[in-house]
């Protein structure tokens, strides 16, 4: 039996200055380079394929398979294009807060993963695209990369392997859409961050139209432990199709919010038990399994295995494993309106259904939240969602309708209550962390 919690990525976060090279190397850090350089590039790809690692950025695409799409050898016209790795460190999906603590505490885990990945996909330049709004994380990444160069883990002919690699830390400038991988590429090329038409896929024509792998921070940071301990070791954790350990992020109305690293497939009930349960005196009302773009779930879903298949079967998505917990003091309409305002603000404006649709969604929802309008407006709202879902250029728009449709599915009456009450029946003060005792009574 594998234990309930399995800290691997987070195992050294409480060490003394774990962000330093010295501390990282003292716990076996960078030893996976020796193992990998003794293997062929394709063997490293096979190892990651065999481990069953799936992308931790939201979609769960098998990582080794993604790497395998990078064309090897010269192009049809005989030219050889460079390959690139781009690490998606944009972490901006509401609720998601796992990559930032990882890079803050142990940035070298990511750098080692970058080296292993670049070796496997035959890339000689990697970019870490980190959101700009996390200054200390940017500092720790810059320092880790600098230390790795000085130690000879980066640069030319790394440890006599003949393999060269440069890593550039690139801070973004505030735009949720830049987390979408093709928008990220445009942003990294110095443009407005707007998604690209696919095909061609980034594996064929990504950064500077060259073959590019884009992976989430946690995905890349999971590579060193696979190379060091083996694919079977990794696959001994998790469920049949969702292998390994991962970071679950509990936030909101929980006694002790925070990061819990567990094998894929743990349930919210188990995680809540470990975290001291829902805020004292209150019940779970709704939660997101993987950020605001994943349909909300309720207390009916406490025993859903939190893996890709389990959450999918429950009508949502595992996403980024951002478990935002809301108790019975929270108005679901207010929560959904606020997320919708976020999507409207972050819509990149490239396509009409999303640009105009998210604007309309905010209009309709605001009226409902203020208790104006009538029940038929709910059907109008669902129609608007229908006109956006699947008709937009990228997945931002699909994410925008998730909170709306799922909240109407589970809490239709609460929308109606707003209309009957002529406004919100909840007291927002009761939901706050600093709610006075009398407000909570």
């Amino acid at each position: 039996m594998v234990d309930a919690l399995t800290p691997v990525l987070s195992a050294h976060w409480d060490s003394d200055r774990p962000w330093t090279l010295e501390s990282y190397e003292a716990t076996g850090g960078y030893s996976a380079l020796t193992t990998a350089f003794a293997l062929s590039q394709d063997d490293v790809i096979s190892m990651v394929k065999d481990s069953g690692l799936r992308g931790r950025g939201g979609a769960g695409f098998p990582t080794g398979m993604k790497w395998g799409f990078i064309p090897q050898g010269p192009e049809k016209d005989g030219t050889v294009k460079p390959h690139y790795l781009v690490v998606n460190a944009d972490e901006s999906e509401p609720g998601t807060c796992k990559d930032i603590p990882l890079m803050m505490a142990t940035p070298h885990t990511l750098v080692e993963g970058v080296i292993l990945t670049c070796y496997a996909i035959r890339a000689n330049h990697a970019f870490i695209y980190v959101r700009g709004e996390v200054l200390q994380v940017v500092r720790r990444l810059q320092r880790a990369v600098q230390e790795a160069y000085l130690a000879g883990h980066l640069g030319t002919d790394i440890h006599g392997s003949g393999f060269d690699l440069d890593v550039t830390v690139h801070a973004g400038a505030g735009a949720y859409i830049c987390g979408e991988e093709t928008a990220l590429l445009d942003s990294l090329e110095g443009r407005r961050g707007q998604p690209r038409l696919r095909p061609p896929f980034p594996a064929v024509a990504g950064l500077y139209a060259a073959p590019t792998v884009i992976n989430n921070v946690e995905s890349i940071a999971s590579v060193p432990c696979i190379v060091r301990n083996g694919a079977d070791w990794f696959a001994s954790m998790g469920t049949e199709k969702s292998k390994g350990m991962t970071l679950y992020s509990l936030s909101g109305h929980v006694a002790r919010p925070g990061q819990l690293e567990a094998p894929l497939g743990i349930t919210l009930r188990q995680l809540l038990d470990l975290a001291g349960g829902v805020r004292e005196g209150h019940q779970l009302k709704f939660w997101t399994p993987g950020g605001s773009s994943t349909p909300i779930l309720t207390d009916e879903h406490l025993d859903v295995p939190l893996d890709y298949e389990g959450v999918g079967a429950a009508g949502s998505m595992l996403g980024t494993k951002a478990l935002q917990i809301f108790d019975d003091t929270t108005c679901v309409v207010r929560a959904v309106l606020r997320w919708t305002e976020f999507y409207k603000h972050e819509s990149c404006g490239k396509c009409t259904p999303c640009r105009e649709g998210t604007w309309w969604l905010v209009q309709t929802l605001s009226r409902l939240e203020q208790g104006r309008g009538e029940e038929s407006d709910l059907e109008a709202l669902l129609d608007q969602c229908d006109n956006i879902l699947g008709r937009s250029f990228c997945a931002l728009a699909d994410g925008a309708v998730s909170p709306i449709t799922s909240s109407i599915q589970y809490f239709r009456q609460e929308y109606v209550d707003h209309l009957e009450n002529g406004g919100c029946p909840f007291d927002p003060a009761r939901s706050t962390l600093f709610a006075p005792a009398e407000a909570l009574a």
């Binding site: 195992a11 709004e133 200054l135 407005r192 509990l250 936030s251 951002a322």
Partner: protein, 241 residues
């Protein structure tokens, strides 16, 4: 050598040091235009905002039009056309923080500072000015409600603690991030984002208490990842089992 006529003065050319640093940024990338986002960060650190001459300079150095640079500058929320204060205070009002108290904090600060969203307190001579803005989820939801000062974390805030925070900043008292160093100025922060480190990476903790939740429980329970075949791997095989 060109001499700068003042930090926010738009007249005249940019100083030679800044131009040289902009060129250094360009040299980091296989294709020059990739440098644009960090270049704009650097210009904000020099000029306190994105200025017309800064846009012209980027366009010149990159061989693209000023309209193209402007199109990029207006796309990203961290770039400001109006001067930013000594400190940028961002209150997270995305759903989770809002519900946990971010809305109340934002209202209180607007009132206390007598400014609206994205507005700056007047510089009352010698003191520090504050630009207040509500921001989207800053990847710190397990520390909600969260306030960012110059993009450093101020975790687990209340209306009272946030009021004290801005008062301390305005009075020039030393303020430390809950997960980071002493707060520097907004311009100094922008310089780091442009890729010019300021040597404060070692300040502050590795992790806050919420980041360590699972690790602490695992240690108490004696839980770990499965043992590895070779000794000295990442995992300590379970003690006593």
């Amino acid at each position: 050598m060109t001499v700068s006529t003042g930090p926010t003065d738009e007249a005249g050319p940019l100083d030679a040091t800044t131009v040289a640093e902009l060129r250094q940024i360009i040299a980091r990338y296989p294709q020059s235009r990739s440098a644009l986002i960090p270049m704009l960060h650097l210009l904000q650190s020099v000029e306190g905002r994105v200025t017309a001459r800064g846009i012209e300079m980027c366009a010149d150095l990159l061989g693209i039009s000023a309209a193209e640079v402007s199109g990029v500058a207006t796309f990203y929320t961290m770039y400001k056309r109006r001067p930013v204060g000594t400190y940028h205070v961002g209150v997270c009002t995305n759903t989770l923080c809002a519900v946990m108290g971010g809305d109340a904090i934002f209202e209180r600060l607007k009132d206390h500072l007598d400014v609206g969203n994205d507005e700056t307190t007047p510089d009352d001579g010698g003191g520090a000015s504050i630009t207040l803005e509500h921001v989207e989820c800053n990847a710190a939801c397990d520390y909600a409600p969260v306030v960012m000062v110059n993009w450093e974390f101020m975790d687990n805030q209340t209306p009272e603690s946030a009021t004290r925070l801005v008062d301390d900043l305005r009075q020039g008292k030393e303020v430390r991030s809950t997960r980071g160093p002493r707060i520097c100025t907004w311009r100094e922060a922008e310089r780091v984002l442009a890729g010019f480190p300021d040597d404060r990476a070692d300040d502050g903790p590795a992790a806050g208490p919420a980041s360590l939740l699972g690790l602490r429980i695992a240690r108490e329970q004696g839980w770990s990842a499965p043992p590895t075949e070779h000794a000295g791997g990442t995992q300590n095989p379970k003690e006593g089992s």
